[in-house]
């Protein structure tokens, strides 16, 4: 047996014997997924929660049952918060508790101008998802001396009310959205080393 083979065999045995121990002690803390997977999963949770709120709460109570309105000023109007607001409140709550990831809802045609893309990568990403329907955008950027993995996911007009509300809003810069259009995007950011 050559020295190399011997070393490989010893290493393999050690690895196989040691693996369960390592897996047992470090499984919960050893990174086993990529930033892309992480942001994809986060987006899945965010978009699912938002879809549930939109369909099972807002659309059902406002459109079908007609028992309550949804309003931007939901507290003063004693109404339901708009799905986009509910999404933002979640993002704010997360930001109060951690800086390990951040997310926001942005658009090239925002009702509130503060929600327009700000960084170069955000601008590029939002343009990409608008022009390439069905695709996500991923990139790396450095902000404030920290490197981030940034993912941008399309936010599509799924209900007629998305279109009419945005087209008719007094602060909208775009008035010809149609059902199925990409209206904006969800930007998720995680800090990475290197």
């Amino acid at each position: 047996m050559s020295k190399l083979k011997k070393a490989l065999l010893t290493g393999s045995i050690a690895a196989v014997l040691g693996l369960p121990v390592v897996a047992w002690s470090d499984a919960a803390t050893t990174p086993t997924y990529t930033p892309k997977q992480l942001t994809d999963w986060l987006f899945l949770v965010m978009s699912s929660d938002r879809a549930v709120y939109t369909q099972k709460i807002v659309n059902r109570l406002v459109m079908k049952e007609k028992v309550i309105k949804a309003s931007e000023h939901f507290e003063d109007d004693k109404a339901l918060a708009l799905p986009a607001q509910m999404f933002r409140f979640g993002a704010e709550k997360v930001a109060e508790q951690t800086d390990e990831f951040t997310y926001s809802l942005q658009s090239l045609w925002p009702v509130n101008k503060q929600n327009a893309p700000r960084t170069d990568l955000e601008k590029e990403g939002l343009k990409f998802i608008a022009e390439n329907k069905g695709e996500n955008f991923y990139g790396i950027e450095e902000l404030g001396g920290v490197k981030y993995f940034t993912a941008v996911y399309a936010d599509v007009a799924v209900a007629p009310v998305c279109v009419s509300c945005h087209n008719e809003h007094k602060d909208t810069p775009k008035t010809d959205f149609k059902l199925g259009d990409v209206m904006g995007g969800v930007v998720i950011r995680v800090p990475i080393k290197g």
């Binding site: 931007e72 000023h73 003063d76 704010e92 930001a95 109060e96 800086d99 951040t102 926001s104 101008k113 700000r118 960084t119 955000e122 902000l143 404030g144 920290v146 981030y148 087209n167 008719e168 007094k170 602060d171 008035t175 930007v187 950011r189 800090p191």
Partner: protein, 489 residues
């Protein structure tokens, strides 16, 4: 000779230096020592009362920004949350705003509110130049052409915007309240405190010790050795306390160690047993902040009018402020506490003008029974407004009195929704509060200033309405054209 003189001088210098260092070190290490010697400059109006309790804001490290920030939030965090802060920290911790944070680090209160710098301290403890809005919103005219050419210092000083609290100033709120008469045709009334009605529902209320039942004058439970005047018992008997089962020992028996011991002069901690929120508010405000031992981590003497920076009446200069300084012990007359107690000390132009004000006329009519309860406007109506505290998502509400009298003052637009709009239009309220002269005469004069925000909001609303009509017409046209196309096919 010269040599001796030099040696002596060196010894003197060494003794002096060591003494000085010892003095500074022991002073800074002693929790209860007077640390005035370390104050780098006059402290702001909001904090000067507690300026010698350095630890409250600076913590142990003295310079750690996170510790200082935590101290700010410890006292002001709840108010910011209630104000639906428009610029919360979470907005600036978002990496997408890193470039803005590099210009203005709004993650920390102390970026805009530096303490001990009187020469640059403006209203509300602001220590930034007034063009701070411009740092992030310099392109506002692109979005709001009406704002083109407005001076850089007019955003927050013209009654239009606040950095934190815009609950009465946001555009749709202005639109909703357009074209109301200055004095509403049907003015509202202010709600009555209702602790007696809901005490049974509050889990922390000591109902087991003092069940809610009406007590007779003979039921008082002051123990035998205690000497008191019969008038004291009569005063107590006539209050809500006696009506609600709150006997002498409820306030006078305070926990010392493991047992309840009689105390002749119960302080705010006794009141807190039942009036938790009121006492907490009191400790947040200028009347009670010196008594908040928990936050200050030391004992300070109570506030007195002599310490105040506002003009006060000479005869009450040494009055120590606690619950009983405004609410006379045993009588607890809330009407007296709402005006007479205030005017017993306050001696500024606005306070003195109250007696001849239309608000006082209403107050007198309420007292005489000519107007229903809650129609009058006392000092407390505006400065200590009634609040509705929600329990269990609206299962019941506790109507309580805000005892932090600064809460609706900084900025004064915070008064608009809970107070002014009960009887006045939004526009009239905004104009009045922006007019220093009107405030000085205690609202005896009409505002001579007009804030344009409502007109601007109305103009935008009309434009938006026209735009909406056009969009709907176009959508209809497109729909019809589509139908036409489909039928032709």
């Amino acid at each position: 000779m010269l040599k001796y003189r030099n040696t002596l001088l060196w010894i003197l210098w060494a003794v002096f230096t060591v003494t000085l260092i010892t003095y500074y070190v022991t002073t800074i290490r002693n929790k209860d020592a007077d640390k005035a010697v370390f104050l780098p400059g006059k402290t702001s109006d909001g904090h000067y009362q507690i300026e010698r309790a350095c630890h409250t804001c600076h913590g142990d490290s003295f310079t750690n920004a996170d510790v200082i920030q935590e101290a700010c939030m410890n006292c002001h965090g709840d108010a910011l949350k209630e104000a639906k802060d428009k610029h919360p920290k979470s907005k600036f911790t978002d990496p997408r705003n890193a470039d803005r944070v590099a210009i203005l680090d709004a993650r920390n209160c102390a970026t805009c509110h530096v303490e001990h710098r009187p020469e640059i301290t403006l209203e509300m403890g602001l220590t930034l130049p007034l063009d701070y809005c411009h740092l992030c919103h310099d392109d506002i005219a692109d979005d709001r052409p009406s704002h083109a050419g407005m001076a850089f210092d007019t955003c927050a000083s013209a009654g239009c915007h606040n950095f934190h609290d815009n609950q009465a100033l946001y555009e749709d709120f202005l639109v909703k309240h357009l074209h109301q008469p200055d004095h509403l045709e049907k003015p509202g009334t202010f709600p009555k405190p209702n602790l007696g009605e809901i005490a049974v529902l509050i889990t922390d209320y000591p109902i087991d010790r003092y069940p809610l039942q009406k007590l007779g004058i003979e039921d008082h439970d002051a123990p035998a050795p205690i000497q008191f005047h019969q008038d004291t018992v009569q005063d107590w008997f006539e209050t809500a306390h006696a009506q609600s089962g709150v006997n002498c020992t409820a306030c006078h028996n305070q926990m010392e160690g493991d047992t309840f011991t009689w105390t002749d002069k119960p302080d705010h901690t006794a009141c807190k047993t039942c009036h938790v929120d009121e006492v907490n508010h009191f400790l947040m405000g200028r009347h009670g902040m010196r008594l908040d031992e928990e936050k200050l981590n030391r004992r300070l003497s109570p506030m007195t009018p002599a310490m105040a920076r506002l003009p006060m009446k000479k005869k009450t200069m040494d009055k120590e402020l606690g619950c009983n300084s405004c609410h006379d012990a045993h009588r607890y007359d809330i009407k007296q506490a709402a005006v007479e107690s205030c005017l017993g000390c306050h001696n500024d132009e606005h306070s003195l003008a109250y007696i001849d004000s239309p608000h006082h006329e209403l107050w007198k009519k309420e007292l005489s029974g000519e107007l229903p309860e809650g129609s009058g406007v006392s000092c407390a109506t505006c400065h200590m407004p009634r609040l509705e505290k929600e329990y269990n998502w609206g299962e019941f509400y506790h109507t309580l009195v805000q005892h932090n009298q600064s809460d609706t003052m900084r900025p004064n637009e915070k008064m608009i929704r809970p107070v002014c709009m009960t009887c006045h239009s939004l526009g009239f309220s905004i104009d009045s509060l922006a007019d220093r002269e009107v405030i000085n005469t205690n609202f005896r004069t009409e505002p001579s200033i007009h804030i344009e925000s409502m007109n601007m909001a109305e103009k935008r609303m009309i434009e938006a309405g026209e735009k909406k009509k056009a969009i709907r017409a176009r959508a209809q046209e497109e729909e019809q054209a589509q139908k036409q196309e489909d039928s032709e096919e």
